[in-house]
């Protein structure tokens, strides 16, 4: 569904990604793991058009999308749950969800999609009139995921959904990723929480200083000595 071929990108003269190639097959969940500063967030920002492509090729459903701006990519069916959630703090929960449905095809299904999100996250329905900035960390993450789903995407990009959350809430977030997948959505998830993300995804890549160091099925990576030693503390 999404494929990156020999992609390089960065900010100004600073290069954050070198020659990265990656495949996200339709209906699968793919993880990108790696330490802080490896370029994981840049990778997602590149895919969703917030960071310009320097060289290489990005294809979504077979079409080149490397030159499209962010709002066009949403129209193509890519939704992005950004790092630190980035909710609009002084908009209500419902307004945050409403802006997620900004693109015209999503506007037409706004009411039913809102109902779906409220079924998925009953807490959001309870708090729908509250400012998003007043939610707890876990609720904010739910709202950010809900907002991304409001555009009815084909591919969901998630940037560190477990960051800054209590262990119990982290568990809920990963459960949710499983449920979203089960509904047929394709997911690309970036995480430092290696152990748990490998339980959720089919395939994973290890990104270190801007390059793919390892890749394989989640079972292969879980058994890999380097990963076990460096990232799982085993």
């Amino acid at each position: 569904m999404l494929s990156l071929a020999a992609v390089s990108a960065g900010y100004g003269s600073f290069r954050a990604l070198f020659n990265v190639s990656l495949e996200v097959p339709h209906g699968q969940a793919v993880g990108v793991i790696g330490p802080n500063g490896a370029g994981k967030t840049t990778l997602l920002r590149l895919i969703s058009g917030l960071v310009p492509l320097d060289s290489g090729d990005i294809r979504f459903e077979g079409h080149p999308v490397g030159a499209l701006s962010a709002h066009r990519l949403v129209e193509r069916g890519i939704a992005h749950v950004p790092e630190n959630r980035r909710l609009f703090p002084r908009l209500t929960v419902e307004d945050n969800l409403r802006i997620g449905a900004f693109i015209p095809p999503a506007r037409r299904h706004f009411a039913e999609q809102l109902e779906r999100i409220y079924q998925l996250f009953p807490r959001l329905k309870d708090r729908r009139k509250q400012f998003a900035g007043t939610l707890s960390g876990g609720e904010q993450q739910m709202c950010a995921i809900g907002r991304a789903l409001m555009s009815r995407p084909k591919l969901l990009l998630m940037d560190e959904p477990s960051a800054g959350l209590a262990p119990l809430v982290v568990e809920q977030v990963f459960d949710l990723v499983r449920r979203i997948r089960a509904e047929g959505l394709t997911v690309l998830i970036v995480e430092q929480n290696v152990q748990q993300v490998l339980d959720v995804v089919d395939h994973a890549y290890l990104l270190e200083v801007g390059s793919i160091r390892l890749s394989g099925t989640s079972a292969e990576l879980k058994g890999n000595d380097f990963i076990r030693k460096s990232y799982m503390g085993l």
Binding site: S48, A70, H71, V74, F88, L91, D95, I99, A101, F102
Partner: protein, 284 residues
């Protein structure tokens, strides 16, 4: 209570309506695009001239002249954004101030060239209502009512529509709205058009009460900026309330002293309030 004082207070409220409308427009543009249109009051002047020209010169119906003024200034707003703001959107904000400041001189000179500096009036005389010994001009009452209608329409647009929600969102997190499928450029154009339309509406309401001349913007411009800063720049509700505070100071100050002195009192109170609340009276 003294009946003249009561009349002054009522007039203050009525004056506040139009000022509040203009403060809403300026705050909307500042909140969303992060620029201050120094020439905002001069866009009002352009609208007033169009009303004058269509109604008093060409003899078209007043309602048509009003509608044309709102559309015309909305288009002017879009042009201001496209031609002046968009090319320098990423440069230092002083450049944007200077560019729209330059527009102010351009519009005033251009109006002088077209219409000379003569004061012109559209010649609509609305009756004065007298109620329990208080005299109120219907023009002011109408202006106040229309300004409120405009404010309510803007509020429900921002609150209920998808574009309105995007306008509120972009003022909170500029970088992330693209991920919601929102094209910033479209939102900026819509915002500029709305800001222009509000100035166009204000032009209609002011044309009923005042003569139009090329420098009429100087009468309202400084007042509107003062109101916006007092309410906290970009804070629409703050600006709305501040408009009524300032207009009340002017009206009641005028009752106790003179009209000229009342502006001095208003600006002096503004400076004093700025020492107490430098980020605006309603700053969060």
């Amino acid at each position: 209570m003294d009946i003249y004082l009561l009349e002054a207070i009522i007039n203050g409220v009525l004056l506040g309506g139009v000022l509040a409308l203009l403060a809403l427009g300026l705050n909307l543009i500042f909140g969303v695009i992060d620029v201050v249109w120094i020439a905002y009051a001069d866009l009002v002047m352009c609208g007033m001239y169009l009303v004058y020209w269509l109604y008093a010169v060409l003899g078209l119906p007043l309602a048509l002249a009003f509608a044309a003024s709102i559309v015309f200034v909305a288009v002017l707003g879009v042009l201001v954004h496209l031609l002046i703001i968009a090319p320098i959107l990423d440069s230092a904000s002083i450049n944007q101030l200077l560019a729209t400041g330059g527009l102010l001189f351009f519009l005033q000179s251009f109006a002088t060239l077209l219409f000379s500096t003569e004061f012109r009036n559209i010649g609509v005389r609305l009756p004065i209502i007298s109620f329990a010994g208080i005299y109120i001009s219907t023009a002011r009452l109408l202006a106040f009512a229309m300004a409120l209608v405009g404010a309510v329409a803007l509020y429900s647009f921002l609150k209920r529509s998808f574009i309105g929600t995007a306008i509120r969102a972009i003022a909170q997190d500029r970088d992330i709205v693209g991920l919601m499928g929102v094209d910033q450029r479209t939102i900026y154009l819509v915002t500029s058009a709305i800001g222009g339309a509000l100035a166009g509406l204000a032009a209609c309401l002011l044309a009923l009460q005042y003569d139009v001349h090329p420098f009429i913007g100087n009468t309202f411009g400084p007042l509107i900026f003062m109101i916006c800063v007092l309410g906290g720049l970009g804070n629409m509700l703050g600006g709305f309330v501040a408009a009524f505070i300032i207009s009340q100071i002017i009206a009641v100050g005028g009752y106790f002293s003179s009209t000229e002195l009342s502006y001095v009192i208003a600006f002096a109170s503004f400076i004093a309030l700025m020492f107490v609340r430098p980020r605006g009276v309603f700053a969060r």
